[in-house]
Amino acid sequence: MTQTDPLPCTKQTGSPTPPLLELRSIQKSFGSKEVLKDVSFEVPQGGIVSILGRSGTGKSVLLRCVVGLYRPDHGQILYGGQDVAEPGPRAALRQASSYVFQQNALFDTATVLENMLLPLQARGDLRPAEQLTKARELLRRMELEEAASRYPAQLSGGMQKRLAVARALVTDPAMVFFDEPTAGLDPIRRNAVFEMIARLQKERGFTAVVVTHDVQEALIVSSRIVWLDAGRVLFSGTAREFEAQNAPEFCEFRDNLESLRQSLRSLSAVV
C-alpha cells in the first residue's frame, strides 16, 4: 500500500442521520504546491471530530477552506446539505459556527470584555444589557472575570487560550472549529485545553472540529478521527477503529510516541 492510498476504513459507512458537514473531493493548491489533493469526509452532528496528521499536511488549510477563508480549487463543502460556495449557506455556516485560531487572534486593541462583546454586537440579536450579562457570565465561568478590563497582551498564554475559546462560545454556536488549540503549550496545559474542549462540548452540545497534532489527547476526547497525510485522507472513522489500525503510517506514528515516552521515562530515572 502506498502512503497516499486510502485505507479501507476511509469509506464512510453512512451515518444514520445526515451529516452536519460534508466535504467532497476538496482540492487546494498554492501556486504549484498541491496542498489538498482529494479530501472527502463527513462530520456528524454532536461530538468531537479530530483532524490529525503531521505538520504541513494541509490540516489548517482544510479548516480555512471549510469556513471560507480560502476558496477550494475543486470540490464541495456542504453544511446541512447546502453548498457553502453559495452566499446563503456560507452565511448560515458562519452564523452557526465559531473559529478558534491557532494564535488565538484576539483583538489586541480591545479589552477582554470588548473581545467578548464584539461577536454579540455583530449579531445584534441581543440588547446591549443582555450582551453584557452574557459576556460577563461566560467570562466568570472561564475564570476570566477579574481580567475583564485588561488587554489580551496582559494575559498569560493559558488565559489567552481560554479567552479565545470563550469568545468563540459566546454566541452559542452549533459548530466550533479549533485550529491547533494546543500549539505551543506544555503537556499540562495541553491536557487542560482538551479537557476544556470536551467539557464544554458536553455542556453546550456543539459539534467540535479540532485540528491537532496531539494524537493521544485527540484519541481520548474525540468521537471521530480523520487522518490527513500529504493532502489526502488516509483514515476516517471512530477513535476505536483508528486504534485498531495496523497500517504502517499509524504504527510509525505510535511507535515514535512510545519511543519518546520511554526516553522521557529513562531520562526522569537518571535525574
Partner: protein, 258 residues
C-alpha cells in the same frame, strides 16, 4: 517588449487604483459594522489628530522660521521686504502647509496605521473579524478615513497659523522688520480662495494618506513577505506611496484651481 511592459505597468496601476477606491468605499460604507462607532471615532481622532499635533507644530514653526529668514534676504535684494508677510502666508497656505502636514501625517499616523493593520493581518485578527460577520475594513479603517476628512484640514490650518507666526518671529523679531507691515501683508494677501485651496488639498491629502497606509497594512499578506517582514514592507510602502500620491495630487489640484 518595452511597450508591453509599459502597458502592463499602466494596467497594474489602474487596477491598484481601482482596488484602493473599492477598499476606501467599502470602509466608509461599512463603518457601522461591529458597533461602538463613537468610541472608534474618538480613538481615531486621538491617533490622527492628537498624536500628530507635536510634530505638526514643530515642523510648522521651523518652516515659518526658514521662510521668514530666506524671504527677508531675497526680498531685501529687490527692496520688497514689506512683502514678507505675503510670501510667507501664501506659500504656507497654498502649498507648504497641506503638503508638509500630509507628509508628517504619513510619517506619524500612517506608519502606525500600516504597522497596526499589518500585525492584525499577520496575527489573523482580520480573518477573525470576517468570520464573526464584521467588516474589518469598516470597523478598522472606516472611522480613520472619516476622521481624516475633518482632522487633517484642522491640522493643516494649525500648520499655516504656526508657520505664519514662525515667519513673524524670524522676519520681525530676529531680523527687525516692521511687524505691522508684516501682519498687514498677511491680512491683504490671503483671500478666501486661498483658504479654500488649502482646505481642499488638506482634505484630499488626508484621505489619500490614510487610505494608502491602511490599504498597505490591510493587504500586507499579499506583498510576498511573511510575518514581521510583511509589516515592515507594508509600512515602508504606505509612507512612500502616500508621499508620492500627495505630491502628484498637489500638482493636479493646483493645476485645476490656479
Amino acid at each position: 517588449m518595452f511597450v508591453a511592459s509599459l502597458g502592463k505597468s499602466v494596467l497594474d496601476g489602474i487596477g491598484a487604483l481601482g482596488r484602493l477606491g473599492t477598499f476606501s468605499f467599502q470602509s466608509l460604507a461599512n463603518i457601522q459594522s461591529g458597533g461602538g462607532l463613537p468610541a472608534r471615532l474618538v480613538r481615531s481622532t486621538f491617533e490622527i489628530g492628537v498624536r500628530c499635533l507635536p510634530v505638526i507644530t514643530i515642523v510648522a514653526a521651523f518652516s515659518g522660521l526658514v521662510l521668514g529668514l530666506q524671504g527677508h534676504y531675497v526680498l531685501s535684494r529687490f527692496g520688497a521686504s514689506e512683502m514678507l508677510g505675503t510670501l510667507v502666508s501664501l506659500s504656507l497656505c497654498r502649498e507648504l502647509a497641506p503638503v508638509l502636514a500630509a507628509i508628517m501625517l504619513a510619517g506619524q499616523a500612517g506608519t502606525s496605521l500600516a504597522a497596526e493593520l499589518g500585525i492584525q493581518r499577520s496575527t489573523e485578527q482580520i480573518d477573525a473579524f470576517e468570520l464573526m460577520g464584521i467588516s474589518a475594513e469598516g470597523f478598522l479603517v472606516g472611522p480613520r478615513l472619516l476622521v481624516a476628512a475633518f482632522v487633517v484640514p484642522a491640522l493643516t490650518s494649525l500648520f499655516t497659523l504656526v508657520g505664519v507666526a514662525g515667519g513673524w518671529l524670524s522676519g520681525c523679531v530676529l531680523l527687525h522688520q516692521d511687524a505691522n507691515s508684516y501682519w498687514a501683508a498677511v491680512h491683504q494677501a490671503v483671500q478666501p480662495r486661498d483658504v479654500f485651496e488649502c482646505l481642499i488639498k488638506a482634505l484630499v491629502f488626508g484621505i489619500l494618506t490614510v487610505a494608502l497606509c491602511s490599504f498597505q497594512g490591510f493587504y500586507s499578506h499579499r506583498l510576498g513577505e511573511a510575518g514581521a517582514r510583511s509589516v515592515g514592507a507594508a509600512t515602508v510602502r504606505g509612507v512612500v506611496f502616500s508621499s508620492i500620491a500627495v505630491l502628484v495630487a498637489d500638482y493636479l489640484i493646483t493645476s485645476i484651481l490656479v
